[in-house]
Every structure is written in C-alpha cells, then in structure tokens.
Assembly symmetry: C2
Homo-oligomer: 431 residues x 2
C-alpha cells in the first residue's frame, strides 16, 4: 500500500528546549526539562548507542575516588543524592531502570592492593565518606564465591547502581510516545519527541543560539539548545569560535555474562577490585546477569566500538582472581565504546562566554546555549546533577559550586592571541 498523499513538510519545529544527543546525559536533561514544564526535542541518529550502551551504571562516588579525581567529589556526592528522586520520576511512567541500592564491596587481590586500598581509605575517611574495613571472613560470609585468597575487603554502603540501557530506554519511551505525531504538535508544555537524525549545526539569530539545523532539513527552533552529544560535540558546526571543547576518546571494553542457575546469585553486592594495581569491577544485575568492566585505553583502534582482545583477556583474568566462578559464566556480550575525556577529567558543563559574535555585555554568556559533555567515566552517576544544573541555568539559577566546570575554561589552541593565552577562562572570570 502506498501513501498517495504525502504529509505536508514542516520545515521548522518549535520547542522550548532542543537537546543534541540522546546519550544518558542528553536524555537526563530532556527528562528534567520536561518535568520543569518545558517542551523538548531530542536529536540523535542512534540514541543511547554510545558510551551509554557500554556503561556499567555504578553510582559510586566513594569508590570512584580511587581514581584520584577529588575535585569531582562534591559534584558526584550531590548527584548521588539526587538519584532516588530522579529514578522515581522516570519510573513513575511504569518502566524499570534497574536502580539498586545494594552496597559495594571493595576487594584487594594481594598485599600491594591492600596497601593501596588502605591509603585510599584514609583519604575517604578524612573526607567524611562512609567506608568500613571488613574482616575477610565476614566478606566471604556475605559473598561466599569470593576467592579465599583476597587480601582485604571494605564495605561501602552508599555506592549503588542503575542499568543505563534500561534507564535510557525508559526515558526514550516517554519521548517516543510523541515521536509518531505530526511534529507541529510539539509546542505544548511537557511535550517531547525524538528526531532520529543528526544535528548538522547550531542556528544563530542576533548573537544568540536559536536552535538546531538537522541533517534531514528540519530546523528546530528553541529558546535553549543543549549540546550533549559526547565526543561529537567538538565537531558540531556553529559553536562559538572562541570555544575549545578539548574532548578525547578514552576507549574501554566491558563484558556482559550470564550466571548458570547453580551459581545464582553469583554476588549480592557490586565488587570493585584491585588486582595487582589494576581496577576491575563485577556488577550483579537485577536480571541475574553480571557486568564486568572496564578496561581503559587511549590507543586508537579501528573504530570506537572495536573490542580489544587484550582488554577482554585482562578483564576475565582479573575478575577470576577475585571470583574464580567467573570461568563458569556464559559470555553474552563484549562491547567497547569511547568515553568523552577532558584534560582535567571533569565535565564541560554550563553556559559559554560570548566573544565577538555575542550580543551580551563583555563577559556575558551566549544566550540560548548550554554545553553538557566530557563526563568521561562518570556520565551515569552525574546525570541527575547535569540535568538539574542545566535546567537551573535555563531558569536563571547559577550555583557557584559548579562554575568550575564551565565548558569555556580551556584556552582555544587555534586562537593564539596572547591575551587569551595569558588569561584563560577560569572559574573566577565567570563568577
């Protein structure tokens, strides 16, 4: 059957908010914007198929400290506290998210790993974080399949998890309810839909960002445009010339495994281990599967989704050191993706100072533009905070604590005017 009468073309769509990117960050922002009463259009040719698709979904501000990013701690803790409310909002639509408040066990393999965890614990306690050493016998009472050879164990009750694929699917479904409609519908409050196409660039009007040009020819006109397309953000046409988004891909491999019935439950807690100094984690999912991750490599494979044989080998090797039964699991999936890293491993989140092209007073921000990318390994944990901060900016609320993450804090290497280099954008400049 053919449609004899083509639907009328809609060259322009109007919404309160345009979000470029349907990874977990873009989707979280879209969700929060709709909760605030705004209509939203999300633009992504392949929703939730990037780093979100790989992510294990640990909500672990305490054990993430391990990676020496103390500057991020305040943001991670704030986001952690937002999670229960954020999940309630998504789940009220009736879809599960795999959110679990089961604890995390930190486990070391050898004496050097025990010393490393001990040093870290001193830092964690000094910062007021909740972590408690567990006698090995107690750890193995709680998780009988842990190797008897582990060197130390710590209980971290506040580090939880979510299933990023289910969470993204739940938010996408709430957008999808509107995606089949005629696009001109998307003008009412709380309305939203997904455009399965690429953003080809930002639209400008009178020195302000006015929306998004979409590859399929549509123009999305919006009061606020959020650039949340991860690594691709740096290549978006129409960003302010002065802006550098120094994103780099940090590749990682991650495994999904099935647990045979006689080994269920394999674990009740998430296990985060150090094995001869290398981190590995094992996350037990609600559906009885487990996730083992994640390698971290900056070498460029043939594509972002190329799985490293060495990465998979190392994950299976180290996970078996902590939990020998891993050898008996069914390998369901090996996935690799690139995380968007930044020079200081902190996100690029906020408004952008207007340069020559802006209409605002010198030092003012570009109206209509918010950047939210560069979340590296912390995208899932930081989603509620990113969503809350972004919608706060739309409502004129600026939280001084987060200006240090402004996306214009790095000098643009392609603009070599001495003034720019000697006075790079810093927190103070924008306070």
């Amino acid at each position: 059957m053919e449609t004899l009468q083509p639907a009328p073309r809609n060259p322009a769509v109007t919404a309160d908010v345009a979000v470029i990117g349907a990874g977990i960050i873009g989707l979280g922002i879209a969700h929060e914007a709709r909760r605030s009463g705004r209509s939203v259009v999300v633009i992504d040719p392949a929703p939730a198929s990037g780093a979100t698709y790989a992510a294990a979904g640990m909500l672990a501000p305490v054990s993430e400290l391990h990676y020496q990013e103390e500057d991020l701690l305040e943001l991670m803790l704030a986001s952690s506290q937002l999670w229960p409310g954020f999940v309630d909002g998504v789940q009220s639509a009736g879809r599960g998210t795999g959110y679990r408040t089961t604890p995390t066990l930190a486990v070391g393999a050898d004496a050097a790993d025990r010393r490393a965890f001990g040093d870290l614990r001193d830092v964690q306690l000094r910062l007021g974080l909740e972590i408690q050493a567990l006698p090995l016998r107690e750890a193995r009472d709680r998780e009988p399949l842990l190797s008897p050879q582990i060197s130390c164990a710590f209980d971290i009750p506040g580090d939880h998890q979510v299933d990023p694929r289910r969470l993204a699917a739940a938010i996408l479904e709430s957008l999808g309810r509107h995606s089949e409609r005629d696009r001109s519908w998307v003008t009412g409050a709380e309305d939203g839909f997904l455009m399965n196409s690429s953003a080809s660039g930002l639209l400008w009007e009178d020195g302000a960002v006015a929306g998004v040009a979409v590859a399929d020819g549509t123009r999305v006109l919006a009061a606020e445009t959020v650039v949340a397309n991860g690594l691709a953000a740096a290549g978006l046409e129409g960003l302010p010339e002065e802006l550098a988004l120094p994103l780099r891909p940090v590749y990682g491999d991650i495994l999904r495994l099935g647990v045979p019935r006689h080994l269920q439950p394999l674990l009740t807690a998430t296990v985060r281990g150090l094995v001869r100094g290398v981190p590995v984690y094992i996350v037990p999912r609600e559906d009885g599967t487990v996730v083992i991750g994640a390698s971290q490599r900056e070498d460029g494979p043939s594509s972002a989704s190329a799985v490293s044989a060495g990465g998979v080998y190392q994950l299976l090797r180290d996970a078996q050191v902590l939990l020998p039964a891993v050898a008996e699991l069914e390998l369901l999936e090996c996935t690799a993706r690139a995380r968007p890293g930044t020079p200081d491993n902190a996100p690029l989140l906020g408004r952008v100072r207007a340069g020559d092209s802006g209409t605002g007073p010198d030092g003012g921000d570009v109206p209509g533009l918010i950047v939210a990318t560069g979340f590296f390994r912390h995208g899932v944990l930081l989603t509620p905070a990113a969503a809350s901060i972004t919608v706060g900016l739309m409502e004129g609320r600026h939280d001084e604590r987060w200006t240090r993450f402004r996306p214009d804090r790095f000098p643009n290497p392609h603009r070599s005017a001495p003034a720019t280099i000697s006075a790079p954008a810093t927190i103070k400049d924008h306070a």
Copy 2:
C-alpha cells in the same frame, strides 16, 4: 502489492536425493550428488548455522593426529587429497571458498610441550607423514611475531585450510538459484534446491525409505535420503528401530579477530600450538582476520551456542603465549557450538542393516537410506570424502576401507536381546 493468486500447493516434491541437514557435510553431499547428475533437495531450517558456523576449517590430517585418532588417519588422508578437486567444483560457480594451501607450523610453549610434539613426530614419521623439525630461528624468520620463548617448531606443509562459512555460502548459493522456483521444477538432473524447514521424519514404503516428511507439510519423495543433520540425527523420527546413533554434544568456543594494519600479516602459516599440554590454533584468513580456537568441553551450558567465559579466557591466554601480539587484535566474534561426537570419535557414515522392518535379505541394507553424521572435529576436512563415499553408495560402489564407519556399528542400548548384544555390528559382519 499483494499476490492475488496464491501459488498452487505442491504436497509432494520429487528428487533423486533428499539431504536432511545443510551443515558442511550435507551441503558437500548435495554438491557431489548434483555433480553426478542427480537432482537434490536439501532440508534445513537454519542452513550452515551449527558446527559449520563455528569451524575454523583446518584441513590437517597430519596435525590432527595429535588427538590420538589413528584409526581415522586413512580417511583423513583420502579426504585431504580430494580437496583440490572438490574446491574446483565449487569455485567454478565463481564463488570463493577461502581455500589456502599455506603450510601449518606446530609450535610448543615449554619443555613438556616439546617432548609431546617429539613423541608425536615419531608416530607421524613412522606413518609416512610429512613433518619436519624447524630450528627456532628459522621458525621466527618465517613468522616474526612468534614469541621468542617457544620451545620447538615443526613444518607441516600438507596441512591446509578452507573457510567453512564461505564454502557453505558458495554451495548454498548454487542451490539457492533454484529455491525461488516452483518446487515441481525440481525433477531434472543436476537440479537442486533448499527447503528452509525442518525434517519431521523419514517416509517409508515397502520396507525402504522413500523420502522425507517436512514440517511445513511437504513430502519430499526421493530414491535416496541422506541423514546429515548432525546431533539432531539421533532424534529423527522414522529411523530403523534397530539403529542407535550414539551422538553426544562436544561444545567448543572459537574466536574471530581483526588484525590492525600495522600487524598485517600477523601470520602466513596456520599455527597449531601446545601450551602446557593444551592445544590452541591460530588460523590466518585470506581477508586478514584470524581464527583462534578451540576449547573442548562436554559440560552442558544453557544452550549449544552459549560461549564459556573460561573457554574464551583460556584461548586468549594460550594464544598470547605463542603470539603475544594477539593482545593487540580486535575481538570480532566469540562463538560456541556443539560438535557431534561418537563413542569412538569416528563418523557414522554409510548404509544401515535392515532389521525386521527391512525387505532385503537378512543382513541386507535398508534401501534408500544413508547416514552421514558424527564427524566431531573433522567435519570440514572429511566433507569431500563423505560426499564421495555417499554418492559412491548411491551408485552401488562399496569401498571396503570405509565399512568400519558404518552407522550401525554400535549396539542399541534400548534393544536388550542377547543376540544383539553379543554380536554387535562390526566391520566384519558387513564386509
């Protein structure tokens, strides 16, 4: 567009040969039968998706001796000699098969592996097989990425390879040319087609097998029916009551990997290794990828295609011992399948002695029925031999050398009459 006039149903299809099973054995037989001037119908709901889909495709009678199946050697060598002609026949249709006559290197990891290879070599030389010890320096000159720590190397020039997926696709395509036609066409010599459906059982007429009842309701009437559906053969309805097909699944994991440009070619020869007594092989394909296999386990996972985490770990570990650069490869695919094993690890190949239900003289064979299954790890190597022997049987040629593989050589445990047990079917009985 709808087809307003449904095609007339054909409750019966007539062909010279019906082949149940489109794995490499069934396809090879179908190919040979058509070359002999017979029309063929192949019946399989999922062609080339079982053990054939996993197989590495080594054509290696010499290095396969390692597995202590000397009884099979004569058949393996005979099949090996048939390969060039068999491949020519398939390739004449213009499709590639990945057939390569590059040599095989046998490589040991440690001193015990060297001793094991040395013992094996004595046997191989005594049997007149071509194998030559290589100085380690020469082995590494030929394959510079081999580990400097290997303990021994042997050149086996007669062990080659084919790509089973490409070979199966080439034969399927030649069948497929006819599969869209009206089924009544399939009566001419050399004609053939594939029915994408299950065989529900054998059809009998006057004590002879007269064809196949297909799950979609069709009856395939054929002068000869070949049972070549691997492990599923044992469950086929309508087999002679007296026949036991003692097939068991032997699971295996196998990996496909991509080689980054700077490591190409990773290898020029196929490498077969022993690493602390465990066999592992690395097969370089024409397209620049490599195949690493294969684990062997008889424990039952949740399904035949469930990949074992421990199996994948062991393959990656042992392959890296021989070829450290494996860590830098891209893991493209982890696959597991079940091979059809038998009590003596030899195939079930030939006609079946008629019992009470047969019309032939006592001790005669069931007319119209040939069994070809149980090829275990050797299905690909033995395909031309299986095809040649099967078509020979159709033409009344019996080769005494192969009667030892008759499918009725095992007693049926469910028929406990003493006569059957005290006089199990042996080679002599049928000679």
